[in-house]
């Protein structure tokens, strides 16, 4: 089946012609203060080309859908059975429609300890603080592996938020995505700097575009803390690529949790550079895929670099797959020479709920320092029949028992959400989804 797909593709899939076609379908912004970064990103992209199906880094995910000049239109669905997440929470809302900031639908951007702007509106300011950060971490990320879609995003992004945190704002910032155009090929780019000692929590929900590309660049300075909780809706037929590029300073904390439900083809790349001593980085995801005739494909690709001493990193990835869903995990811990006393941990687990689903993983360690503790584990299997039997013998109906077991399977990933209220809301959402899809 896969072979047939390969053969049907043009000979130079991902080659120079594909890139030309991809770029000509875009209306590349000139940019204001981002202009040099955009030009450099475009040059990088032309240099590396689009990914090819044979690229090792795209071993388990066919990049064709992302290489295509434009996506198939995707009907805009109704609100769905679930009420929006984090509704009753006191937070500062920023609404993006097809990746473009909608000021009228958003809250007032003023908040103590934090400076919030948007890319499109700030471009004209030549002395903007984001000028030396936009595209910088993205550019750094290509040193080990080429990430063409990240460069493409930097060159093509139309909007996004620019956040500088200087204190400890009283409310989290909530990015809400909405759709308007069925065929929207959305591209947005956030830049966040958390100044020394500052803290922020960023929430992101909603659905954007028939195809979307986002980049989030986060610079977490010394002793600063950044927490990202993302629960974007995908729905079937949705195509999405996203890249998170973080730099974590001394004694700083970076935490990200992503909840993903469905999506035809999703690929998330998370690249974290721990540059200061005693830095902490946790990256976690809970993924639920109902293949719906085999068109669910979810790829998490993580690259964590320990470049300083006593760093602690955790990668916790849990995937629940059914109806021909395909879950991918490519995770890497790189410990540079001298990054002694590193504590690196990585776990990737898949629960396959039927015979058609697949899990493909490549959990890697690359270590150049001796006084380190690094480990990874990966397991794949079905629901434990003994445990299921136990629950049923206690009077729990089979479907409910499976939901309970799936929830307990996902618990480790969910535990990476520190805030109890947020965690419970996400857990309730999972419970509801699982019950409907039982």
């Amino acid at each position: 089946m896969a072979d047939a797909a390969l053969k049907s593709r043009p000979a130079d899939a991902g080659g120079a012609d594909a890139l030309t076609a991809r770029l000509s379908a875009l209306d590349l912004p000139k940019g204001g203060f981002t202009a040099p970064a955009r030009a450099a990103a475009l040059a990088r992209l032309k240099d590396m080309g689009l990914p090819k199906p044979r690229d090792e880094y795209w071993r388990y995910t066919d990049p064709a859908a992302f290489n295509a000049p434009s996506p198939q239109p995707l009907p805009i669905a109704g609100a769905g059975p679930d009420s929006p997440l984090f509704e009753d929470l006191d937070r500062l809302r920023l609404v993006f429609v097809d990746g473009v900031f909608d000021a009228d639908a958003s809250d007032d951007l003023a908040l103590d300890g934090i400076e919030i702007g948007t890319l499109a509106a700030s471009e004209a300011d030549p002395g903007h603080w984001a000028a030396d950060l936009y595209g910088t971490l993205e550019a750094e990320s290509h040193k080990r592996v080429a990430r063409p879609f990240a460069a493409l995003n930097t060159a093509a992004a139309g909007d996004g938020v620019l956040i500088r945190v200087t204190g400890k704002p009283s409310r989290p910032v909530h990015l809400i995505h909405r759709r308007r155009d069925e065929a929207a090929d959305v591209c947005y780019h956030h830049v966040i700097r958390v100044e020394p000692g500052a803290e922020m929590t960023l929430l992101e929900t909603g659905m954007t575009g028939a195809r979307s590309s986002f980049v989030l660049e986060v610079d977490v300075a010394d002793q600063a803390r950044f927490h990202l909780i993302s629960a974007k809706r995908a729905g079937h037929q949705k195509l999405g690529w996203g890249g998170i590029f973080a730099r974590v300073g001394a004694e700083a904390l970076f935490k990200s949790f992503a909840l993903s439900v469905n999506g035809t083809m999703m690929r998330y790349e998370t690249v974290v550079d721990m540059v200061g001593d005693d830095a902490v980085a946790h990256v976690a995801a809970a993924v639920l895929g109902d293949g719906n005739r085999g068109d669910f494909h979810h790829d998490d690709t993580v690259f964590i670099t320990h470049a300083a001493e006593r760093g602690e990193s955790r990668q916790v990835f849990k995937k629940v797959l059914k109806n021909g869903a395909k879950g991918i995990f490519q995770g890497k811990i790189l410990v540079r020479p001298g990054a002694q006393k590193t504590d690196g941990y990585q776990i990737s687990q898949a629960l396959l709920l039927d015979e058609d689903s697949q899990f493909l993983g490549k959990p890697e360690l690359e270590i150049y320092a001796d006084d380190v503790q690094c480990s990874h584990g990966s397991t794949t299997g079905a629901i434990d029949e003994t445990a299921l039997f136990y629950l049923r013998s206690r009077g729990v109906p089979r479907d409910r028992a499976i939901v309970l077991m799936v929830l307990s399977f996902l618990a480790d990933a969910l535990a990476e959400v520190d805030d109890e209220t947020l965690r419970e809301q996400i857990s309730d959402r999972l419970d509801a989804w699982l019950t409907r899809h039982a």
């Binding site: 493909l360 890697e364 360690l365 270590i367 150049y368 320092a369 990874h376 584990g377």
Partner: protein, 506 residues
Amino acid sequence: MNTTPDLEVREGVDRETVETVANMGSYKYGWDTEIEMEYAPKGLSEDIVRLISQKNEEPEWMTEWRLAAYRRWVTMAEPKWAMLNYPEIDFQEQYYYARPKSMEVKPKSLDEVDPKLLATYEKLGIPLKEQMILAGVEGAEDTPADARKVAVDAVFDSVSVGTTFKDELKKAGVIFCSISEAIREYPDLVKKYLGSVVPPTDNFYATLNSAVFSDGSFVYIPPGVTCPMELSTYFRINAENTGQFERTLIIADRGSYVSYLEGCTAPKRDTAQLHAAVVEIVILEDAEVKYSTVQNWFPGDEEGKGGIYNFVTKRADCREARAKVMWTQVETGSAITWKYPSCILRGEESSGEFYSIAIANNMQQADTGTKMIHLGKNTRSRIVSKGISAGKAQNTYRGLVSMHPRATNSRNYTQCDSLLIGDKCGAHTVPYIEVKNTSSRVEHEATTSKVDDEQLFYCRQRGMDEEQAVAVIVNGFVRDVLQALPMEFAMEAQSLVAISLEGSVG
């Protein structure tokens, strides 16, 4: 080798360990044998391939098989995905065939055997009685063999010098001979199985091997036969600038069993030498093959000068139900190791095991691991890999566990641990896990750590110096794998572990 340590052997410390630690020295097999050799002209071409075929007195079909492989090879590119850095290999700067002149005509008695060849075996530590047979003396098989019953096929550069205990094995129906002999004597078996596990088009090095392999071992165990002794092949590279390309083919017919050992050494030389072998194992219903390797090729000197570039394709095909294979390897030598002994678990309930110790010291680089390809129902596999890096070495575990959709109810357990000694070396883990059915379970665990300070302190406090203490701890670290080796090999391996790490502490 004979110095007795002044150390008192304490409880919990293996005497062997202490002795080997005390006897640690540099590469023991680094000498060469000055012997008149006959070479094929340098370089590689269709003519050289024909020449090798002709030297081995091969039939036409074999020559064509080689030529097809050669033509394919010319179109292939060297694989670059391994975490290995080495200068470009000039494949035209190698000799592809070298044999001692004295082997041109097979010696009839001990007097006729080149004494230098004889001395080589003696120096390598192979017993004299066996040595008589090894040196190719006809009739020596009749000498009653005493306790140690291991049949040996000795390969010296490009030729098999001799195979021992052939007659005794023949009584059991076992065929054990050089592959060149098998091509002449058992063409039907060779035709049927050669290239059926590792096709001539498999990969760059396997294809090169298919074109130029000069010798190697052939084993056939008939149905229901448990091979009466362990079989062994000893590979020795002697000539300079000469690649060794041996090919081993093992067929375990239904219900049979064989344990096979492989050892290898080479002289110390300043220039790197190429070794590209292929091992194919076919295992039929209810049969079992145990394949153990102690690889001790010259690793190059401390600055990374010389050493063997070891590019090996080893694969076992559990073709029928309940077939079983067990790979055990101790990789201590070679400047470059590129080796992934694999199991194709095709038959229902077949099982594959892989136990590996890979040690890289000084400038050595190893990229090694296994592939477990589960195709049949209820198949089982187990991977235990222990990698040790010291000096400025890089050691990579690379493995694949693949559960195909039809391989229902299958199991895999993988454990790969890395130990780092010193802050200039690297330890890497690159596992691929592909699960395409629900009822199978795959578990993978990997850890990387350094020699534990508390354990080190404990040993030091018991009077060991740091190197001895490290050797003891390392021996504990690799124990799971050592236990999977046949007794004699385990001893040798244990000493090798200590020797390879010599100079890595402090």
